[in-house]
């Protein structure tokens, strides 16, 4: 194995070992050790809850995030291209931005009740603002020379969007997409603690409420962390596509 893989793996192993050591030195610390947590994950798998909860959480993130992406990119492009629209709408975005998506939980439940739709709505909100603002800023950062060249060749508006604007903002957009997906994953867990009856967030709350099963609480946390990393790695792969690599610092 190459050193670039070995070192991170060693780091994780050391952390797990320290956790085990800590738990065995202080049995009164109330939290279960890694072995108990691993057994907890096994138990979830055996009861069929592991796959069910992971799928439920991913399902909500997928819908909320993709809907946000579909709305945010055209909106951000339009705002970036039309300074007057931006002047009117940007203040609204900026006021909404510091409001945690979690503050919307009561309203989400009011509108959509307890269920998937509420959670999806919260994830949509959490992803929408950063993606819109990032798209808008990316349009501002397009090299004016590229816009001038596109104008010079007289290509129609539609082609100008698909062949110049979108590819020009893509490197910045992908970074924003990666960050937004991270936020969406944070929010789904919180939303599931309150607004639904399944998913990894629900697992954590439910395991505590139904008998203080802290092994399952931590099992939920470990799963959240592991899936979050996988999502992030998948997004990083997109950054290596040939048509966007120009936008990142030279390798």
């Amino acid at each position: 194995m190459s050193r670039s893989r070995l070192l991170p793996l060693t780091g994780i192993l050391v952390a797990v070992a320290a956790w085990q050591l800590g738990v065995s030195l202080h049995p009164s610390s109330l939290i279960p050790g890694p072995i108990a947590v691993a057994r907890g994950i096994g138990e979830l798998a055996a009861r069929g809850l592991l796959v069910k909860y992971v799928v439920a959480s991913l399902f909500r993130v997928t819908w909320g995030y993709l809907t946000a992406l579909i709305v945010a990119v055209p909106l951000g492009l339009a705002l970036g291209m039309r300074r007057r629209a931006e002047a009117a709408i940007n203040p609204v975005l900026q006021v909404l931005r510091p409001i945690s998506p979690l503050a919307w939980i009561p309203i989400a439940i009011l509108w959509f009740g307890v269920g998937d739709l509420s959670a999806i709505f919260l994830i949509f909100l959490a992803s929408l603002l950063p993606l819109t603002v990032a798209t808008m800023n990316a349009v501002h950062n397009i090299d004016p020379v590229h816009l001038a060249a596109a104008r010079n060749f007289g290509i129609p508006l539609r082609a100008r969007i698909t062949r110049v604007l979108v590819p020009a903002i893509l490197p910045q957009l992908i970074v924003a997409m990666r960050i937004a997906l991270g936020v969406a994953w944070l929010v789904v867990v919180a939303a599931e603690m309150i607004a639904v009856n399944s998913g990894l967030g629900f697992l954590i709350v439910d395991a505590r409420n139904a008998g203080n099963r802290y092994d399952l609480v931590i099992a939920g946390m470990v799963l959240i962390g592991a899936i979050g990393i996988v999502l992030d790695l998948l997004m990083r792969r997109i950054e290596r596509l040939d048509s966007v690599r120009w936008g990142y610092a030279a390798e």
Binding site: D143, A148, A149, N152, G154, A168, L170, S243, R245, A250
Partner: protein, 244 residues
């Protein structure tokens, strides 16, 4: 006249950049515009390209006033005008969006060949040298078969050896395609090597000080007496004694 500048004046805020510039460019002519930096030579080219409107005066091309950019006359920026998200092929074919696929591929191949980039069709700009990127941009401009090319210090960012090579390549292409070329540079040697006529501009606000005809046949001998005479004439006109 192919391109006619009449009494062009330009101002940015309170700063006068160009003052009453008038000159005509013949069809097929290679015209260089030189002058100290900030003299408005780039601005003049941007006005002709339709990217800026002058505060006074008009530019006509084939008798029609310029009102905006037009694909019949293409502006070549320094190499950074190449789209980094497209391959060499994609860049050269960029302006050919209205051609059927087959015709477009044929044209792209033709211009890849013209600028000597065979084998790099699938390469991205980040994999190319500055000179190669500049060639991509020239090919992209020529591929739409414009009648006028505007070049704004196109070789300014290249090293001196590549710059020399690119000059002779541009001359070869210009002789083959016979476009009208307006070429802005701050490099006096470059202007004397390339141009039919050199327009020498004054410092800001830019005015035409003198128009020098370069009556030396191509290929030009850079150590000939006439070359040195004309070069020194322009150096003198700009107010630089030719010594370091």
């Amino acid at each position: 006249m192919k391109v006619q500048f009449s009494d062009i004046s330009m101002r940015f805020g309170a700063m006068d950049v160009l003052q009453d510039v008038s000159i005509g460019v013949e069809e097929g002519e290679f015209l260089c515009i030189v002058g100290p930096s900030g003299c408005g030579k780039s601005t003049l080219l941007n006005i002709a390209g339709g990217f800026l409107s002058p505060v006074k005066g008009t530019v006509t091309i084939d008798g029609d006033p310029v009102t905006g950019p037009d694909r019949r006359r293409i502006f070549v920026f320094q190499e950074r005008g190449v789209f980094p998200w497209l391959t060499v092929e994609g860049n050269i074919g960029f302006g050919l969006f209205d051609l059927p696929d087959e015709e477009r591929q044929r044209r792209v191949a033709q211009y890849v060949h013209l600028v000597g980039l065979e084998g790099f069709e699938k390469a991205y700009p980040r994999e190319l040298s500055g000179g190669m990127k500049q060639r991509v941009e020239v090919a992209r401009a020529l591929a739409v078969n414009p009648d006028v090319l505007f070049l704004d210090e196109p070789f300014g960012a290249l090293d001196s050896i590549t710059r020399l090579q690119m000059r002779s390549e541009l001359l070869r292409i210009w002789r083959a395609a016979r476009k009208t070329v307006l070429f802005v540079t701050h490099d006096i040697e470059e202007s004397v090597q390339l141009a039919d006529r050199v327009v020498v501009m004054s410092a800001r606000p830019g005015r035409i000080r003198r128009v020098v005809e370069i009556d030396i046949a191509h290929p030009r001998d850079l150590s000939s007496r006439r070359y040195i005479e004309l070069r020194d004439l322009i150096f003198g006109e700009i107010g630089l004694a030719h010594q370091v």
